[in-house]
Symmetry: C2
DNA sequence: TTTTTTATGATAGTATTACTATTGTTTTAA
DNA sequence: TTAAAACAATAGTAATACTATCATAAAAAA
């Protein structure tokens, strides 16, 4: 499952600066293009993790990076679009990991295991873009992610393509599910459910443990992976 | 599945005014006790449904019911606690329906089917408290519910017992799951997952249809019910 | 019935948030 | 080297999320 050629290739790519092409309606100016933009990405992740999305403000962010509110507004129209941007980053990151790690794998059952592993361990197995703390990005995705598409603007945002990355992730996972069992009637629902379950149950284990059977000790999420594999196997058998 | 004696009993109880005993840390003064309080419950549901939680304010609510911000603040410390209150109301309502409708049922498999039916159809099958529009309450639960426990205050709120109703619901469902299959290792996770899936996929079908396989035409959520039954059967076989 | 308490309304005020606008200075690109 | 773009500094506005005070109306107690 761990291939040094791929690992090396990732590192090589990293050093050449990974860039995600995220929907350009999300920002006024691409933050990946400048020092200030990268600072905004880096420290918004840290600050949202620290304060929670509701208490996070552009003013606090500006203070933290030694800039001004007005400057941040030149990159993002508002904090909600910044959240969608970060959530998209996470979806793209997971998609990217799945692509790289399933590249040489032909058995769809093994592919699905790798996918589940990526859902659960995305931030830990791999080094990322230097200014993005993937572990904290995962944390804020787990805590705040659903807020990206639970708003009155979903339909408008959706029509602008802001959730395309999630759909594309769901699509590629569902294709593999259908490869495993072409008769299975709910490949998309299973795909999204495995993803949502992964995040939900990590959250539950940490904050509302009576809502789940698994436990997360420290950051050991093995039990979540085991559970998701069990669910997937059973449903596709 | 439909028992007229129970139906009559519900109506009788209704006419005697159903009261939910919700955690009294959620409010400063029990809104079920006064005209203004009931107005707050009734119209906050309508307004949150109309504006979405972020754009909903106590000022708008006060204007709508011909009262003042200050008066509403005498009932709820802030709009977040009001949301948790409403979400608790929904959990209690579902629990209540499950209790009533599974009362005379002994087969746990049938009980689980009734539970799934209650998750999906909660607002439609039964008349409710006269000042609560259960259908819109279900809508806002689907759209805004997760925000009740996705905050920086989860742990604090949890320690005050604000999520007890959900835990108790999860517990009773998981007991029935364990009755069906005592060997099943994840009764709590399955219980919460069926509930979350129900709400998620209704939401996806309406707003992000490429994330699911089912469709919801008008308010016909039959396909969701069928899917949940399929998942449950397969996992517990 | 009168008195007392409680509930609500009316009004005012504050700190913070979520922006927009303007102007000047620094950095980058032609 | 000059023009353009990016950023900082500052100021200002409307709305939000409250808190406080006082008057009045309704309900409960005496």
């Amino acid at each position: 499952m761990f291939d040094f050629r791929i690992w090396f290739w990732i590192h090589l790519t990293m050093s050449l600066q990974i860039r995600f092409s995220l929907n350009d309606g999300l920002y006024l100016k691409d933050p990946q293009d400048s020092k200030l933009g990268k600072n905004i990405i880096q420290h918004s992740i840290l600050l949202i993790d620290e304060y929670g999305f509701e208490s996070f403000t552009f003013k606090k962010l500006a203070e933290r990076i030694g800039s001004t509110e007005a400057s941040i507004y030149r990159y993002f129209e508002n904090k909600h679009l910044l959240l969608i941007f970060l959530v998209n980053w996470y979806w793209e990151w997971v998609s990217y990991l799945i692509k790289v790690n399933t590249m040489n794998v032909s058995d769809p059952r093994i592919k699905l295991k790798i996918i589940i592993h990526s859902f659960v361990f995305a931030p830990k197995d791999n080094p990322g873009v230097e200014y993005v703390n993937e572990s904290k990005l995962h944390n804020i995705f787990i805590s705040e992610g659903v807020k990206a598409y639970h708003t009155k603007d979903v339909d408008k945002d959706n029509s602008k393509g802001f959730f395309k990355s999630y759909k594309s992730l769901a699509n590629s996972v569902s294709n593999i599910i259908s490869e495993i069992n072409p008769q299975f009637k709910y490949p998309y629902a299973l795909a999204t459910n495995l993803f949502e379950m992964s995040n939900n149950h990590i959250y539950f284990a940490k904050h509302l443990p009576r809502l789940t059977d698994i436990s997360v000790n420290g950051n050991n999420v093995d039990e979540v992976e085991t559970m998701l594999n069990y669910f997937a196997d059973k449903l596709l058998s």
